[in-house]
Symmetry: C2
Subunit: 368 residues, 2 copies
Amino acid sequence: MTLDDLPTPCLVLDLGVLKRNLALMQAAVARFPGLTLRPHMKTAKSIEVARLAAPDFGPITVSTLAEARTFAEAGWRDQIYAVGITPAKLDAVAALNAAGAAVKVITDDVEAARAIAAHPGGLQALVEVDVGEARGGVAPDGGALPEIAAALGPRLAGVLSHSGHSYAGRSPAEMAAIAEAERLAITAAAARLREGGLAVPIVSLGSSPTAMHAARMDGVTEVRAGVYMFGDLFQGQIATHPLDDIAVTVLASVIGRRPDRNTLLLDAGALALSKDRSTQAAPRDWGFGRVLDAAGHPLPGEPMVARAYQEHGEVHAAAPLPFAALPVGARLRVVPNHSCLTAAAHDRYHVVEGDEQVIATWNRVNGW
Amino acid sequence: MTLDDLPTPCLVLDLGVLKRNLALMQAAVARFPGLTLRPHMKTAKSIEVARLAAPDFGPITVSTLAEARTFAEAGWRDQIYAVGITPAKLDAVAALNAAGAAVKVITDDVEAARAIAAHPGGLQALVEVDVGEARGGVAPDGGALPEIAAALGPRLAGVLSHSGHSYAGRSPAEMAAIAEAERLAITAAAARLREGGLAVPIVSLGSSPTAMHAARMDGVTEVRAGVYMFGDLFQGQIATHPLDDIAVTVLASVIGRRPDRNTLLLDAGALALSKDRSTQAAPRDWGFGRVLDAAGHPLPGEPMVARAYQEHGEVHAAAPLPFAALPVGARLRVVPNHSCLTAAAHDRYHVVEGDEQVIATWNRVNGW
């Protein structure tokens, strides 16, 4: 079967690009002996990708109970469920742990910490620390940090931060500076707790760009990153991976042609691409995605999906589109702005390796 | 089971509001004797909703082959698949028709029309006419219209337009004006073809706001509309339904609290809400959704999800949030900006009727 045989729109994953992106991150982490890479499965949500990114059932990060359950049942035991936990979700985590997994939760709330400590099941938790993103997490120097850690008692597994604010950086030097600020904040938090007599085995930080560009990792036990596996038009512009090394594309068909306006309509719209506009503030705004030919090669005038309706994507370009080669039914491939959100619109990957032969179909773990 | 028992995030559908919205549209269409409502299932994508919106297997509109197949197998035979068809998809449509359905396709392309005419299966097609949206469709007064109709030959089923540009209108009077312009354009297209000796049984137009507010429907055989079933914060502001009559909400849990910043974090982020920002240009910008209490009632300061990360939604409000009543784990409900995109992130509806008792679970037909 080739890409020509697939119904459109659908999601294509290039195994060769995926392997290059995985190797790039593994090499970046290997600069620091003893540092563990805990890949975040929130982007790929795939057992087959996890086999490559976290071989031998190595440690992983997840973002939903559905992922935790799927990966635990498939053999990945050492997980961090890296979204603030609620008491109602503890039974599900404890059940996975009773079946052999070691799914650790995170919290930045003292009442939630007390619920974790009081739960009858086997649970471990990390305290989430805010290192500048201003989303979740306690301040590394405030009173909440030791209070939550004490409430967890022997269930304290460590501290965790996320440097999502690194996405505002644009160069490797900026990423390295944000990574160093994150390292200083999270290791200071760990040191405070240790000075209070607590064990803090895990000191976990990361994001794809900071994991790639950090200059130091002293005091850190592990880094988390996820979007690096596939990359996207945003990450490619903030130096996480080469701009052309984006492993996922949406295969789409031409469903309309307007040479008078130099536009095409594709059968990939907001549902197939997402409405993520993360490149809006990047050096190059790619609308709702960059449009390549069926083989994945650039086209003259760098077409992009400039408007996204529910099922229609409208392609604009800076040069005349090759209408003669693009009748209704012709195939194109759309590179995502933000691979996490685009991939989430699809229930499976059609896997290729450098050409248009489909070598496998891999399911995704969508939903919660 | 009540909403308290559901894992979050998940999608809640209020049957009472749905029924009110359906009745409002049915009454709007009933103003014009002989006019058929052909509900568009692209928003609801649900057999149970179709039973209410298109009872007795009445005519429906669909936007994907997955919908066409599901509704055909469930008994809805008279369908229009209202996204420009490609030759590769004709076999699937012909197979449904061979099994008893009457799924009609649309095209605005002469080569596609020839492929439809030449296909060995049973097919009927409408010519898509552009009435001002400037997306798909041929001009009502250009040469392509009769050329495509002639290419279809006896497979011509009619003409079809979509007034998506009505979304730029803001008042019932503006909607009525756009609806009348659409009516004049599509009936002129039908008249041209009839003058050429062709039969044009179906003259189909519509969008939720124009279907609701049209003043005349002479010459039109049917109207299509879909988002009216659920409504959303955008449609509520352009007078499609009362702003409070929005049938779907995302049930979410508090996962973080920052009284110093007057913000909450919810476990409903970009994946559960979509990144649709359609209210950005509406009178009231609701960010990524309006936040109600667990019972679906407004809260002081009109909180909304102002930032949406993959799994985190950050709530901002114009008045102090009621932190004492909202510990980690507390439930809130998020009203969508654009119900088509928010609902598409979920695989089922948890149905309630005015209170928090869950009376049914209805599956959605996602994907393609």
